[in-house]
Symmetry: C5
Subunit: 299 residues, 5 copies
Amino acid sequence: MIAKLQDKQIHSFEWIDVVNPTTQELLEIAEKYSLHTKSVEDCLEPEHLPKYEEIDNVVFVILRVYDENAKPNADNIQGLTRKIAIFCSNDFFVTIHRTHQPFLDEIHKKVSFYKKPINSLQLLTKVIDYSLHTYQPPADKIEDLVDFYEEKIFLKTRLPDLLKTLYMLKRKASVSKKMITLTREIIYKLSEHVKGPYMQDLKDSYVQMDIVYDEIMDSINNLTAIYLSVASQKTNEVMRVLTIFSVFFMPLTFIVGVYGMNFKYMPELEVKNGYYLTWLVMVIVTIVVFLWFKRRKWL
Amino acid sequence: MIAKLQDKQIHSFEWIDVVNPTTQELLEIAEKYSLHTKSVEDCLEPEHLPKYEEIDNVVFVILRVYDENAKPNADNIQGLTRKIAIFCSNDFFVTIHRTHQPFLDEIHKKVSFYKKPINSLQLLTKVIDYSLHTYQPPADKIEDLVDFYEEKIFLKTRLPDLLKTLYMLKRKASVSKKMITLTREIIYKLSEHVKGPYMQDLKDSYVQMDIVYDEIMDSINNLTAIYLSVASQKTNEVMRVLTIFSVFFMPLTFIVGVYGMNFKYMPELEVKNGYYLTWLVMVIVTIVVFLWFKRRKWL
Amino acid sequence: MIAKLQDKQIHSFEWIDVVNPTTQELLEIAEKYSLHTKSVEDCLEPEHLPKYEEIDNVVFVILRVYDENAKPNADNIQGLTRKIAIFCSNDFFVTIHRTHQPFLDEIHKKVSFYKKPINSLQLLTKVIDYSLHTYQPPADKIEDLVDFYEEKIFLKTRLPDLLKTLYMLKRKASVSKKMITLTREIIYKLSEHVKGPYMQDLKDSYVQMDIVYDEIMDSINNLTAIYLSVASQKTNEVMRVLTIFSVFFMPLTFIVGVYGMNFKYMPELEVKNGYYLTWLVMVIVTIVVFLWFKRRKWL
Amino acid sequence: MIAKLQDKQIHSFEWIDVVNPTTQELLEIAEKYSLHTKSVEDCLEPEHLPKYEEIDNVVFVILRVYDENAKPNADNIQGLTRKIAIFCSNDFFVTIHRTHQPFLDEIHKKVSFYKKPINSLQLLTKVIDYSLHTYQPPADKIEDLVDFYEEKIFLKTRLPDLLKTLYMLKRKASVSKKMITLTREIIYKLSEHVKGPYMQDLKDSYVQMDIVYDEIMDSINNLTAIYLSVASQKTNEVMRVLTIFSVFFMPLTFIVGVYGMNFKYMPELEVKNGYYLTWLVMVIVTIVVFLWFKRRKWL
Amino acid sequence: MIAKLQDKQIHSFEWIDVVNPTTQELLEIAEKYSLHTKSVEDCLEPEHLPKYEEIDNVVFVILRVYDENAKPNADNIQGLTRKIAIFCSNDFFVTIHRTHQPFLDEIHKKVSFYKKPINSLQLLTKVIDYSLHTYQPPADKIEDLVDFYEEKIFLKTRLPDLLKTLYMLKRKASVSKKMITLTREIIYKLSEHVKGPYMQDLKDSYVQMDIVYDEIMDSINNLTAIYLSVASQKTNEVMRVLTIFSVFFMPLTFIVGVYGMNFKYMPELEVKNGYYLTWLVMVIVTIVVFLWFKRRKWL
Ligand SMILES: [Mg+2]
Ligand SMILES: [Mg+2]
Ligand SMILES: [Mg+2]
Ligand SMILES: [Mg+2]
Ligand SMILES: [Mg+2]
Ligand SMILES: [Mg+2]
Ligand SMILES: [Mg+2]
Ligand SMILES: [Mg+2]
Ligand SMILES: [Mg+2]
Ligand SMILES: [Mg+2]
Ligand SMILES: [Mg+2]
Ligand SMILES: [Mg+2]
Ligand SMILES: [Mg+2]
Ligand SMILES: [Mg+2]
Ligand SMILES: [Mg+2]
Ligand SMILES: [Mg+2]
Ligand SMILES: [Mg+2]
Ligand SMILES: [Mg+2]
Ligand SMILES: [Mg+2]
Ligand SMILES: [Mg+2]
Ligand SMILES: [Mg+2]
Ligand SMILES: [Mg+2]
Ligand SMILES: [Mg+2]
Ligand SMILES: [Mg+2]
Ligand SMILES: [Mg+2]
Ligand SMILES: [Mg+2]
Ligand SMILES: [Mg+2]
Ligand SMILES: [Mg+2]
Ligand SMILES: [Mg+2]
Ligand SMILES: [Mg+2]
Ligand SMILES: [Mg+2]
């Protein structure tokens, strides 16, 4: 579907938005605006990574925006992000993408109300800025999850599958981080042409998103380490309980075993208070063990 | 609240301090000093990260200072730090912030007593310098805590929640470290305009704070590692005790079990000193186990 | 075997493809095209690493492509990759390699159908591009294996040799990663001579492959960490079961041991319901232990 | 105390050595040599980090030398190092420090015997060089300790406090490493003015000290890892012993338990050789367990 | 011992090889060729690290070559490597070293047969190249050892001292890696004077050796991690066996304990098939435990 979002009225260029084009449509556009064959090939490749290119006064940019409809278990670049190809010259601004992207409408609406005309490269700067912000909602969601699991861990709730969850979160965050990092080079090259507040806004957004995902990666790593430590502490605790019980009961069980033997001549068995004396011995043994544990700070 | 801290008397510029402005007040100031719309927008965004910008001879800087009234459990940029926006030109120096910042008063007092006039960029350098120093008290506090817990760990006191505490300290220190790192680029850009002792002081402060937080992060990481190792050593100890007790008592319990059997024909039971001989065997077994442990250096 | 793949017809240079040459053949070619002795020596060294060199208007490049016939247990540069030496001047393009390389035929076929002539450096760019893509199939294979093992781990299937498998995968991926990294310098130097879409394609391929192998290394490292954690969690579980059983049975075994003693005077033994009372005590002990475990969240 | 170490005789500058000056003395010197107020302030700050500054043809350098009288448990910059402030111009060379520094006397003696005059910056280069060498003795001491503990660990001597010792060594080495790293920038800036053998000597010293402390940090980290692994291996060993004993004795104890039951009708008890047959069964069980362990390589 | 390896015949410079010189001999040479005093001092220091220096048209280089006669337990720079000092001008090439270095003879022989004259800097390039190759044999040896131990580990052979061995290998490899890294700066500075194939060969050697030692460090680190994991897996296994045995035998031992009690009134003891019913109960308990383990995949 090809839509003309913007005519050369306020601003000095046309904006053509192409959604899910057939190869035929794409070729027509390529011919109309003399787009380079190589770039059109890149458009057709759904897995292409973000990049910036200049050919004969046309700036060609590929962006990848976060796909808000990504499947919950998606964890790679193709599953989590969507490609947008942009051709940008003095006269035209062509955006090509597979699915409808609400943020482009939003930009279009904003730009329509501008009084001062902007040029197409300034629009490009704005589009990249907005595309970076598509990574904010998933970041917020991951941060909330991290806070949620953090609390659970410190309450020592048993969460047998947390490790898997954190692993999946890490993979997702890692994909977003990579896309943001690849945007840096695009910004760097574009900043040779675009100066002033639009570029400054874009750079602010980049720094913001970069730090947000740095923090997320840090948090997930820290949380994983804490989770494993807490689990390991629980094992320590379990072993302590086992050892304490064993140390208390092994001598007692031995003692009662001794007087369970069937020897003909065992003088203690004949002693009148033998049974009570045995209990006394066992109580003393128990107290000694108890004091020993106390001194070792195990109890 | 808008206060004129400084008139063009000693120094050649006005200093306008704006605390918690209404949008109306902010717009008036923006108009009066011809501030750029985009920058004013950044002023309104409470989460904005530190940055440096130059537009038409006005330097616009956003700083984040440590909030001494931060809540004890705050652990992110918004919870731990406060934004200060500064517009700085030859003629004016405008500081805008949500809450009263004592360190600005302090700078103002100092500057009032200066005999030699300074320019507004030198004042900016001084303000950034002081803003960096707001990160010193929390650093001192964390260092004291680290020393405190260090001692506890080496005394082998049981501290079940230390892991959580160290994790929280790390998150806080990490936020401060990030703000200090973002200051570096501001200093770098400002140093093109400001040379001499003011800039040198600022750079010294930066290096100082950077190293202080490097040390803190190192200390927390080391301490966490030590804590986990000490915990793991305790488990080793627990297991050793369990094993030693088991190895001593299992053969003995077996032996007394043997003579607890009710077979009709068990010659040992009839032997006169059978009972004493059994004790002798058990003593010998105990000694053998003891020597074996000694040789293995387990006792 | 020496084959002339391309005559000076469409394009302005000859392409000579030399497969598994004898030293004699190699020397003849060297003489014919005045190749530098040192470079010819490098050709003869099968272990040579990728590099780029310019001598007297001849560009000499060594590439290493992934060997699709590599032995399954190969894990070093020589076992996993094959060397291709290329001499490239205005007039000739000589490719020298030990075994037949299908991707060179593919390039040759494509180039033959070109209408616009290309120069030899553009062909070189294309060859490097294709050589990078030989690392894609092994990457896909490793990614599939990682996904396969990931699922197994999270289903807690016992995989005693997984550690070895992951270790081997890591070594293989590490070799590919190193070859790709060495290509970066070649691209950097070549990009001084070749601009435009061919170079852009090559750079895209480099970024693509670099990120693919980054992701693979990350995945393997993460998976190894997860595997070890899951194994460690199983031990925790095992210890918990042991401790729970021991804590339940040790007091009970002690109690029945007490009434197995053969003292002459043990009043309890004479009591009519002694046996049933003992069972009652044991049931109470069991319930107390159960509640204690419940409160500790061990059950 | 102010001493004139060197008059303008052989060399063209005075060397004034100021030890533990009163503020009054410091101000007099500052006035006499027109030192900048800011630099004098830095002199008064005992915690100042190393830095290099040039103001009006005066080079101002702060060094920190290792304090050979540091307390054994000191582990931060202030506790382990001493500040030296140096003002250096064509005509004078002023060194200011709190405590007597023997290495300055040594340099002074050496310089007095020189035949060729040197300039003050060359002297500064020499002083920095010597200051770096103050970090060699503590490095040697740490290396000896590391070798000492290494041997202990590999002999499997029990060293319960080694973890603490290694942690303290690491903190100390880390402080020295940081001071050496801060020297790099001083050398870099000074090398614009001083060329030739003096500077080369200084650079050699820097590389030497940098590598020495790199090695120390590596060694301590490796040794800590080894210590923890050895400790963990000991736990493995302990668990193996526990398991072997349990597996041998649990079936035997069960068997003797069976024939300790008091059922009226237990035919085995009446069999003539029942007791001996039971022993036979127990021997067979023991042999089976033994063989099973042998096959598993646990014995 | 001073030997003139090369007269100004084919090549335009003399090559003087000085083996283990007395201080007297060294001073004579220094005077004859006007060598700088500082450089001669460096020659006398046996621990000096590799470096490159130019003084008055004389290039002074210190190399460290791997000492093939190094003691097996040597693990530092002085124990594993030997210093070679080289003075190189248009007219002379002086090599100074403590012990005979066969690779210098080899270079000498090769150079003697050259038809085209080379200059002294080209010879220097060749010497550095050969010196790098002295690190190849120890690398091969370590790689073989790593492969050997890898196989042992995966066969689960018990190797109690492997940790120590790997630790020593790592220290040795680390020393070689550091020497190779220090060569980089020498190459960088020399490459301003020497271009063409000699320099290219040297750079190839550098990249080759750098990657070889990168791989070795990686392999040792990976192998250590694997070794520890395998050891930890064995503990897991041991614990599982202990737990399985305990869970099987603890209920059985309790049951036989119950009927070993001596209460006067225990109805079960009087029941005719009480003994067989008890066996039945025990078999059922065993089957239940077995099924429970099966479901948990512990068997
Ligand atoms: Mg939180
Ligand atoms: Mg960042
Ligand atoms: Mg960041
Ligand atoms: Mg955040
Ligand atoms: Mg953080
Ligand atoms: Mg301390
Ligand atoms: Mg720093
Ligand atoms: Mg730092
Ligand atoms: Mg400190
Ligand atoms: Mg640091
Ligand atoms: Mg430190
Ligand atoms: Mg997956
Ligand atoms: Mg990349
Ligand atoms: Mg990458
Ligand atoms: Mg992929
Ligand atoms: Mg990456
Ligand atoms: Mg990833
Ligand atoms: Mg563990
Ligand atoms: Mg040693
Ligand atoms: Mg170094
Ligand atoms: Mg270093
Ligand atoms: Mg050393
Ligand atoms: Mg190093
Ligand atoms: Mg080392
Ligand atoms: Mg462990
Ligand atoms: Mg191998
Ligand atoms: Mg390399
Ligand atoms: Mg490398
Ligand atoms: Mg190799
Ligand atoms: Mg590497
Ligand atoms: Mg490798």
